[in-house]
């Protein structure tokens, strides 16, 4: 494959529309329907845990402009509960990690009982959203409030109320593994042992665009659905499972999406009830989520407690690493196996760790559901391990860099087998090259002379400067679910590439066109890439898990290669020659006759050779995930009188692959770091003791603004992956994974003379002030 486009920082085809405000988000599609589309609104529970004694919808149903009002119980006559989408745990993986995970099913709307504030309990369909919301106010609900479970530790205690009767002790999933690679010294005297508890708060993705969909019944009895989802085929599969509709009768298309971050890879009751109602009423119906709904009912993430012990020898060499962690999953988490096991396996970090003992438990509580929020357990695991390394270094009196240099996997260690399988059943093998080099590159991103200059330039004694570091690992591009791409040569000579996942800013239409143009050896403007259509490709999952470049990109490559081969064969057959060669811009027959793609395209329409040859499907599923490693470095300024931390400089050194488009790759890292800075300093979704959310608006839930984010310096160390035909590694989640740990490390450094040790994220100003006072007490 030539590399004319791949690797080039070409302009994104998405940009003109983004900059001119002419992308078509779900809300734009709905607006364009005018009065043809009805609007739904959901009545949501005001209680965290209660029995519903009575719901009276009679007044609401009579309001002018209201078409239908249904309670959860009424809806349940037509729709089954959502059963988990997992195709069964991979047996080797389940055995190695001792996974216990009782299945649950989740009703599309609450039936007789509510389990979190924000749970949908009734739905109104009306001429407009205004009328629908007015009708919601007409509905009377009588609750019998019961004790909620709001604390993860208490959820596990004997006698705690059960969030789901079928899950004893609220233990949604348990994992445990131990690996004893080399015996510990008999006498631990002189060894360094650090123990602590680290917490990362409940956080939410906060996409600028909230959720939304529009469902329209077709004349043939089928259903067209436009849904701001990362996984159109997942939505289709679940919808057909709960309605018994035939798969081929439902088409799910994802329009342009304004941010997703895993929140839109979950399948929600609202996404199932709206198509059902559209079918029953026989009209298009839209539901466009508002910010309150998004904050209280769209899936959240993080919310972990790690109780850890790290043992090193007196020089700082890691001997044993132990962690017992708890994940507060909220009311449900369909990705709980992923989130909890991701946490467990990423706790192994980028180091040589001879002995490991890890247990993890995910618990149900009466809070909003959770899912795989960007990073999905990795930022939390990184925080626990990296904080512990800093603690050990402090106790020994060595630098935070030195302890990492001592333990990190070096060129001679890699590739490195961890001796346990990943979720797809493949053995975990870090397929990297030199993590020490990455660490050293990170150090150069904020050089010592710059640190000295900033420190000396800070004359106000209340402002302290500190520098911190954290390394992190990520498994990207996993199987076993495949991605496919349908490549079609059109009569005009254009290549049409259909892909299946929904995109929310990852520039798929640009980067996959780069891949296809190089594989087909044609100019990139002869290629059109479409995304997110369930009917476009035979098999697709979602734009999740840093997998799209690896899986979709490889499927596109394989699809174009297959098409080229089909065309070559067809030309041989049609022109009776063995000599057909694929060249720049087309094909050459018998070393003399040149046929452009346009010429070949004409054959599709004009000749009688059949058109099957003009379409090919590429399919790719990797044998194992391909790993990336990063080292994050942060320079912060902490105001000791107010506790406010400002990130002044930030750098990410990164061992990934070559970039399909360097600007797109850098954008993924920068956006991820912005999210990570929010995680580190600002974001905490809070509930009070009776399970009422107290941060259900953006004045109380603080996401960072441009004023909080410095420019991010990036160093790429490129190592080709051998695990996919494109040779690429994922990058989508690398930004947020190391940020909270690096920033906490920098705050410790800034406040070293005050004895402050950050043990949680976010480290808001109140917490820092408390820590300063606490350290003095």
């Amino acid at each position: 494959m030539r590399n004319l486009y791949v690797g080039q920082p070409i302009d994104r085809v998405e940009d003109p529309k983004i900059l001119c405000g002419s992308l078509q988000y779900i809300g734009d599609l709905v607006s364009a329907q005018g009065d043809d589309c009805l609007h739904a609104a959901f009545l949501r529970s005001s209680e965290a845990s209660a029995k519903i004694l009575r719901i009276d919808t009679t007044t609401a149903a009579k309001r002018p402009g209201v078409h239908v009002v249904l309670t959860g119980r009424e809806v349940s006559a037509f729709i089954k509960p959502v059963r988990e989408q997992r195709a069964g745990l991979q047996p080797d993986f389940q055995a190695a990690l001792n996974i216990e995970c009782p299945p649950i099913s989740v009703d599309c709307m609450a039936i007789d009982r509510v389990r979190y504030v924000g749970e949908p309990i009734a739905v109104v369909v009306a001429e407009s959203r205004y009328i629908a919301e007015d009708a919601l106010r007409d509905i009377e609900v009588e609750y019998d409030v019961t004790s909620p479970v709001v604390d993860a530790d208490e959820a596990l205690s004997v006698g705690a109320p059960l969030v789901h009767e079928t899950t004893p002790q609220n233990a949604a999933i348990r994992v445990a593994f131990e690996r004893n690679g080399e015996p510990l010294p008999h006498d631990l005297t002189g060894c360094i042992v650090v123990e602590s508890t680290y917490r990362m708060a409940r956080q939410t993705a906060c996409p600028i665009e909230c959720r939304g969909l529009m469902a329209g019944p077709r004349e043939d009895g089928g259903m067209d659905i436009w849904n701001a989802t990362q996984g159109p085929q997942i939505v289709r599969r679940v919808l057909c499972a709960v309605t018994d509709w035939p798969i081929e009768s439902v088409r799910v298309m994802s329009p342009d999406i304004g941010g997703a971050f895993g929140q839109k890879a979950n399948v929600y009751g609202e996404e199932l009830v709206i198509p059902l109602l559209a079918k029953r009423i026989g009209r298009k119906i839209a539901w466009i989520e508002d910010r309150y709904e998004n904050l209280v009912s769209a899936t959240q993430g993080r919310d972990q407690i790690h109780r850890v012990r790290l043992t090193t020898d007196r020089k700082g060499r890691i001997l044993k690493w132990e962690d017992d962690f708890i994940v507060d999953l909220g009311v449900y988490n369909f990705s709980r196996i992923g989130v909890v096991t991701n946490t467990a396996v990423h706790l192994l970090g980028a180091y040589r760790v001879p002995n490991v003992r890890i247990t993890g438990v995910g618990v149900y509580t009466n809070k909003a559901p959770s899912s795989q929020f960007r990073g999905a357990g990795r930022p939390e695991a990184t925080f626990a391990l990296e904080r512990s390394l800093d603690a050990a270094a402090r106790k020994i009196g060595m630098s935070i860099w030195a302890i990492r240099e001592l333990n990190i996997l070096k060129e001679s260690d890699l590739p490195y087998a961890q001796g346990i399988p990943y979720r797809d059943g493949s053995p975990i093998v870090y397929d990297g090259k030199n993590y020490l080099k990455v660490l050293n590159e990170a150090k150069k991103l904020i050089p010592a002379d710059e640190i000295a200059k900033i420190t000396e330039g800070t004359r106000n004694p209340n402002l302290r400067i500190g520098v911190g570091v954290a390394t992190c690992m990520e498994a990207t591009g996993r199987g076993p679910e495949p991605e496919t791409a349908r490549v079609t040569l059109q009569a005009t000579g254009r290549l049409m590439i259909k892909t299946g996942v929904g995109v929310s800013g990852q520039s798929h239409r640009t980067v996959f066109a780069q891949v296809a143009a190089d594989a087909a050896r044609i100019p990139i403007d002869k290629i059109t890439v479409t995304t997110g259509d369930s009917d476009g490709v035979p098999a697709s999952l979602a734009s999740i898990a840093s997998r799209s470049a690896v899986l979709v990109g490889s499927a596109v490559l394989l699809g174009v290669e297959a098409l080229v081969e089909q065309i070559t064969n067809k030309l041989r057959e049609a022109f009776g020659t063995e000599s057909v060669e694929h060249i720049d811009g087309g094909f050459v027959l018998d070393r003399q006759r040149t046929m452009s793609w346009e010429d070949v395209g004409k054959l599709v329409d004009e000749s009688n050779i059949g058109r099957d040859f003009a379409e090919a499907v590429g399919k790719f599923v990797p044998n194992a995930p391909t790993w990336i490693m990063g080292a994050h470095v942060a320079l912060v300024q902490v105001d000791v009188e107010t506790g406010v931390t400002k990130v002044l400089c930030y750098g990410v050194a990164h061992e990934g692959s070559h970039s399909l488009n360097p600007r797109v790759a850098d954008g993924q890292v920068r956006g991820g770091v912005a999210q990570g800075i929010g995680s580190a300093l600002l974001e905490a979704f809070k509930y009070d003791e009776v399970g009422q959310p107290t941060t259900a608006n953006l004045a109380d839930y603080h996401i960072p603004s441009s004023l909080d984010i410095p420019s991010v310096r990036i160093a790429h160390l490129e190592v080709k992956s051998e695990l996919n035909p494109l040779g690429v590694r994922g990058i989508g989640e690398s930004g947020p994974i190391g940020s909270a740990a690096a920033i906490a490390s920098a705050i410790d450094d800034a406040l070293v003379d005050l004895g402050v040790v950050v043990d949680r994220a976010p480290a808001g100003f109140g917490y820092i002030l408390d820590s300063i006072i606490g350290a003095h007490a």
């Binding site: 205004y130 919301e133 508002d290 600002l682 608006n697 004045a699 960072p704 603004s705 002030l769």
Partner: protein, 284 residues
């Protein structure tokens, strides 16, 4: 988060407005100007007035008029006007310093001084500024005509002022400060957020550079913006260089009951004093 149904009544003059307020006595009504506090409250279902009297079209209330000994600011003057006029109102620069901390550009483009002062959020900057600058609030109603309320008597508690229900705030009169230096400091989780604590100070000097008066206000520290210098021992007659401003900040903040707020108010006061004395704004 759609607004509940309400009647909307636009008015063009102050007379029309006070007439409407009087005619609808007993109706749950609100005057709407910039709407930057009221509309979110309505969208969240925390306020549902039956009638909104819209004063955005009232002529003559969106101007700043400079007089010899004071300025008159119309109740409809937007926060951004306070920023934009900074160069022409050098004596009142503290207003633009404070206004910079209000929300973001979109909010400052719409939010009004009269709206902010009437809303009387204890964490708001501008009510505290009115208190610091000893403004006079000019209110009007059909029955009571025009009356003036000094800022010291105006703010009664969270979201509560001395205005009567059918009254509207029309303008704010601010005396021109003489030989006075100001300082302002605010702590918020992010720039533009509701303040966690804030302070503003005014130090006036005699011809001989001796301190003649000190007025200090804190906000987001008590149920209403509060003058903390009223009954305090102040270093009057001293020169600024010989005053321990940190100590003064500590003593002025000592009456604040919440411990964390007290600590933060001390820091904010101390920074505001340093700013007033040095003329240099601190990083925070």
């Amino acid at each position: 988060m759609k607004l509940p149904a309400f009647e909307w009544l636009p008015v063009k003059t102050v007379a029309e407005c006070v007439e409407a307020l009087s005619a609808n006595e007993g109706v749950e009504l609100k005057i709407i100007a910039g709407g930057q506090s009221l509309l979110p409250l309505m969208a969240l279902g925390m306020a549902s007035p039956a009638l909104l009297v819209d004063v955005n079209g009232v002529e003559g209330l969106n101007e700043v008029v400079e007089r010899d000994d004071h300025i008159e600011i119309g109740a409809l003057v937007r926060h951004n006007q306070l920023l934009a006029r900074a160069d022409r109102m050098a004596d009142f620069n503290i207003l633009s310093t404070a206004a910079r901390h209000i929300g973001h550009v979109g909010i400052r483009n719409r939010g009004t001084l009269g709206g902010s002062v009437s809303h009387a959020d204890p964490a708001s900057e501008l009510p505290a500024m009115m208190l610091l600058l000893q403004a006079t609030m000019v209110c009007e109603s059909k029955a009571g005509g025009v009356r003036s309320i000094p800022s010291d008597d105006f703010f009664l508690g969270p979201y509560t002022t001395a205005m009567d229900e059918p009254e509207m705030l029309t303008k704010l009169l601010i005396p021109r400060p003489v030989r006075t230096k100001f300082g302002f400091s605010e702590l918020a989780a992010r720039h533009g957020d509701f303040a966690a604590a804030g302070a503003a100070v005014a130090i006036s000097y005699s011809q001989g550079d001796r301190i003649e008066g000190i007025r200090a206000v804190t906000f987001a520290t008590n149920p209403k913006p509060t003058v903390v210098s009223a009954d305090a021992a102040l270093p009057l007659g001293e020169k600024a260089v010989s005053v321990s401003w940190t100590e003064l900040a500590k003593s002025l903040s000592s009456s604040i009951s919440d411990g964390r707020k007290r600590e933060l108010a001390k820091v904010m006061l101390s920074r505001a004093f340093r700013q007033a004395v040095s003329g240099v704004e601190n990083a925070y």
